[in-house]
Amino acid sequence: MTATHVQSLLKLDTKTTKRANMLLEQNVARPRREKVSLSAFAFVFAEIVRYSQNRVLGIQDLEAKLNEIGKRVGVRVFELTMWREKNVHRESRVLQTLVFLNTVVWRALFDKQADSLERSTESDDEYMITDNEPAILKYISVPKEMASFSPGAFISGIVEAIAECCQCPARVTSHVVPAEGMPLRTVILLKFDKEVMEREKRLEAGK
């Protein structure tokens, strides 16, 4: 069984070690280090894309793979970012979650707020977070034959994980919507699950 084999590889049944002790005693209230070079990130990310591309058949699969890699980042970034808030709290409502993503999470990850947060005019359960120039993607140019591919799938993975953490699971996709001078303008589209929208209605009514 492959699944159990992988589990056994990843199993963390650790004895008490120096390392484990150090990790549990470190101070995470502030980042230990602030920055690395964008080049370092860009090179690693380019390798992630190249690697993923070799293991999938189509653009959808490629995006799914980047999404998966992003999700593991999202869970950790979220819990850590929240821990560093003055008031450690939870978000469980759709709007608050979106605002938190748009402001706090974006600032923590990209040093700026996202450029806009909008509700879809077509359906109530769809929201869009737009980043005009995602710095981590700035060197990427997608070839014409892959025009529908959005490297922001990695970011949408982060967002999807966080929405799930906030008990607002959603299908999150990423789309390149270029604008004048912004060839990589990226729209992160969240379509919240039906149960989430129903819960929202109940909570609104119960107020």
């Binding site: 992988v6 590889l9 920055k35 690395v36 090179f43 690693v44 390798e47 992630i48 890699i69 980042v73």
Partner: protein
């Protein structure tokens, strides 16, 4: 150029000529990549290889980034190369400067001692990974190898120690195999 100058070049470039990104985003992304590789390959040896290969692909590209940013020219000897790798390369990308140590008598091998490796932050290896020999930051070996190859140096680069595996320090060994002729063929692995 003297060692001090390289330190200054590295620091100057880091301060004024390098766009930066949140270190934790980078660290978590690297972690997620390694876990993805474990899931895909189901074998720690294969993960080491893949990380080295990805590093190599990065290295053959990243060297141009360093050169374009710092204006450094070819190194006169392997000692200078070591200085540049440690004080410029590591500084410009990861904002660390490993110590250089343990030169071999023939001056063809040295070690980089990484007291502070950002990739390790937050990471604790599963016991299986320690047993089966995962070098979590193996990408760095590939990067060094790829970058030096573009500078006509064929090297072998490997981890000797890693704090993640319970060692006191993290140590990367770099061995010069030979100087290549100009215009060597180079490509992706």
């Amino acid at each position: 150029m003297a060692a001090k100058q390289y330190k200054a070049i590295g620091e100057e470039a880091w301060k004024n000529n390098v766009e930066k990104v949140n270190a934790e985003l980078f660290i978590f992304t690297y972690g997620s990549l390694v876990v993805q590789l474990v899931k895909d390959f189901e074998d720690y040896g294969a993960v080491n290889k893949q990380l080295d290969k990805m590093g190599y692909n990065i290295g053959v590209r990243l060297i141009d980034d360093i050169l374009a940013r710092t204006g450094i020219d070819k190194c006169a000897d392997f000692h200078t190369t070591a200085e540049v790798v440690a004080k410029v390369g590591f500084r410009v990308f990861l904002n660390i400067a490993p110590a250089i140590a343990n030169w071999s008598a023939d001056a063809k091998e040295f070690s980089l001692i990484l007291e502070d490796n950002p990739l390790n932050d937050f990471c604790e290896l599963p016991p299986k990974a320690v047993q089966e020999g995962l070098w979590y930051s193996n990408v760095l070996c590939g990067v060094i190898r790829g970058a030096l190859e573009m500078m006509q140096m064929q090297t072998e680069v490997w981890f000797v120690h890693d704090v993640l595996r319970g060692d006191d320090v993290s140590e990367i060994r770099v061995k010069l195999v030979k100087i290549l002729d100009e215009e060597v063929p180079v490509g992706d692995e």
